[in-house]
Subunit: 153 residues, 2 copies
DNA sequence: CACGGTTGTTTGTCTATCAAACAACAAGGT
DNA sequence: ACCTTGTTGTTTGATAGACAAACAACCGTG
């Protein structure tokens, strides 16, 4: 009588239940899968996903402040401090003095940081191609548009 | 010359840069938006998203073990202990003795736990309808299918 | 210049996670 | 029966990431 469909001991893989009917759950599952692969790709460059995002944001907005960075990343500005500390210790980012505001720091990539970001960016491109390989170009476009509408963009 | 496109101080909203070209980034952004709304909905029932997922999993698989639950949730089995502790303290879940294995616990919802899960489940349904309101039924179906293919399901 | 608001920072706290070790128990082989 | 190996739940310690509150230095406005 080991056939009551599912669960009774701890053997047969559990059934997701109500969860699989939720679009939000499937969204999360996909995001977790992509994120795990992304994190592994970044690990090859000694970068966390958050650190890569930080480099990308600074690269696109040289001279931005720590507060602006925190806002863009969706984290508190007090959390930005140890984040930049680590990158600065590795000579990837520098806290340059701001021209007309002696309180804030103008964040910039060092040459070394820009170089690492460039190679990491190329690796991310390969990662994207790999993880979304099962989707045709038109499907990726459809997915992107639907996701943006969910985000309220 | 305050027109070099963007960023130079800390004012004008930073541009996402390389990130917005990444499908994985847009996936993450959508997931964060949905998750935040979901968490807020659950807060009304004194439940975290993880606790709701736990209740859903136990409801669909009564009698499953803590190890099986942890595997299904994607967390270590040592992390399951404090999770169940809290729910058991609130009389929502019980650690029943397993029939033929005195090591493992058979997790079950109490009547109170089943009742709370049912009302929370209804709230989640309303949450889903609200957060995906901008998508037509056919679009939701398309999104779900694309997400599942990304997950490798 | 005085005042309120902002910036980076420090400190403390909280939550969530894993890893390693452990006793109790299960299962199989001999 | 015994021994070995693996599993289950648990405890403990460590780590990472985040927030909140407070602080000195500084900006901008009145």
């Amino acid at each position: 009588m080991a056939d009551t469909a599912v669960a009774e001991g701890g053997n047969g893989m559990p059934v997701p239940g109500v969860l699989d009917g939720l679009l939000g759950y499937r969204l999360r599952r996909a995001q977790v899968a992509v994120f795990a692969d992304f994190a592994q790709t970044m690990a090859g460059y000694e970068l966390t996903p958050g650190q890569f995002g930080t480099l990308a944001l600074i690269a696109a907005n040289p001279g931005l402040s720590q507060t602006a960075l925190g806002t863009a990343l969706g984290i508190d500005r007090s959390s930005v401090v140890p984040l930049i500390d680590k990158l600065e210790r590795r000579r990837l980012v520098e806290r340059a003095p701001h021209a007309r505001d002696r309180r804030s720091h103008a964040l910039r990539l060092t040459d070394e940081g820009a170089a690492l970001f460039e190679t990491a960016r190329a690796a991310v491109a390969r990662h994207e191609a790999h993880i979304f390989a099962s989707l045709a170009p038109a499907e990726r476009e459809t997915l992107a548009r639907l996701l943006d509408r969910v985000s309220g963009v």
